[in-house]
Amino acid sequence: MNTNSNAYTVIYTTLVVVIVAAVLAFTAMKLKPSQNANAKAETLRQMMSAAQIKPTDELYATKNAGILQLYADNIDKAYTIGLDGEQNGTLSTEKSKIDLVDNLKPQDKAIKAGDAVTLPVYVFKSGIQVIPIYGAGLWGPIWGYIAFQPDGKTIAGAYFDHDSETPGLGAKIKDEAWFREKFVGKQVKFGSEPLFNLAKNAEATGADNAIDAITGATMTSKGLNDALNVWFKAYEKHLGNKAETQNEEEE
């Protein structure tokens, strides 16, 4: 047979592509459930690392089943809120069907457009509540989880992750423990601008809500600062109100 004729070439390539596509589609379908389970456990690890349930290393050494159990044991309730700060849904915390809002990209879009959102709030038994943040880094999305003390403004812990930031520079937001530890004890200034200030030499101002940007990672730091401020703003009515009522109670 003439393997160089046009008809043969077209039919051959079509066949190869169809077969390859079928193989890939089949594998993707078969593996999707375990990939999703891994992704969910990963999200829970990051949330519980921020909420200081256990040290990050220990969480990463724990298997998926153990992580689900740990979350079920420590979570008090989880719900979603709108931009008005009012609850508009609940998230299951039962071990067998843990419900998370883990697709943050559409939420980020909706926040910026002022559309209806379902922003998750995860309240742990310790009173610590965890919220996600999401934004754009230099090369791809960056996201994270910020844990607040019951007063709603003091940060109890943070965890950041990224898709493809530069290793050794922007990737430090995830890799370096000292960076996330810097957030502990900082206070978000609800009701003023900026809510949070992650910038060059910001710590020199002595403000409670200031953290120095990472040297050599200007764009990642800027992206993270934007993400923090956009998402804190979105939660302002929820967390900010809490901060105020707490203050009144104290007075």
């Binding site: 393997t3 051959y12 190869v16 890939l24 375990s34 990939q35 891994n38 990963e42 050794g168």
Partner: protein, 203 residues
């Protein structure tokens, strides 16, 4: 085992090592050798991809239209790479490593070793020798990767496979973690390799 087959297996590991002799796959060997664990998973992935791609392309070798052979090879290699990536993402123990290796698993497709072996060997040989040639080239690549990662993890973090090896007082050398050091190390390995194998020295 006949002599030719033995040569097929041993040559890519020693005399024709893809990294130290052919200088292929340098990019990924700089990028994924900070830790042994990552290097090991990367090595296994490349071994699988080179082996299976060579096998499939060798099976197809008489039917591939010559004008589009590179494209067909590329489709086969891409399929293998995506399969490996999907399986790594699905495994409970490998999910974190896959995330850590991030784009480099996907970039195996651009590794010259894979396409190079298909073009140079698989298209002209029977399936079994092609499979062995692909696997052996992957092993040759992986071997260098692991040697580099051993030194980088030991002196860059004081650990091996994440376990503390050097005494706690050891201050990690930050240069070792950065890619330029991998290049220096690679140069040293090539030097040592050529010092022992006089045939490789240029006149």
């Amino acid at each position: 085992m006949d002599k030719k087959l033995k040569e097929t297996i041993l040559n890519p590991i020693l005399k024709g090592n893809p990294i130290t002799v052919l200088i292929l796959g340098i990019c990924s060997s700089l990028a994924v050798t900070v830790q042994l664990k990552g290097a090991l998973v990367m090595a296994l992935s490349v071994i699988l991809v080179t082996g299976l791609s060579s096998l499939v392309c060798s099976l197809l070798r008489n039917s591939i239209p010559n004008r589009v052979r590179i494209i067909v090879q590329l489709v086969v290699v891409a399929m293998m790479v995506i399969l490996v990536d999907q399986v790594l993402k699905a495994g409970e123990g490998t999910y974190a490593i896959d995330k850590q290796l991030s784009v480099y698993i996907g970039l195996i497709i651009t590794n010259c070793i894979v396409m190079g072996r298909i073009e140079a060997f698989a298209l002209g040989n029977k399936p079994i020798p092609s499979l062995l040639d692909g696997l052996a080239n992957g092993v040759g690549y992986g071997l260098i990767l692991i040697i580099v990662a051993f030194f980088r993890e030991l002196f860059g973090s004081g650990t091996l496979f994440g376990l503390q090896v050097l005494p706690a007082g050891y201050i990690p050398n930050n240069l070792v973690i950065l890619p330029p050091f991998a290049l220096i190390l690679l140069g040293c390995i090539i030097w040592v390799h050529r010092a022992f194998d006089k045939d490789l020295q240029e006149k």
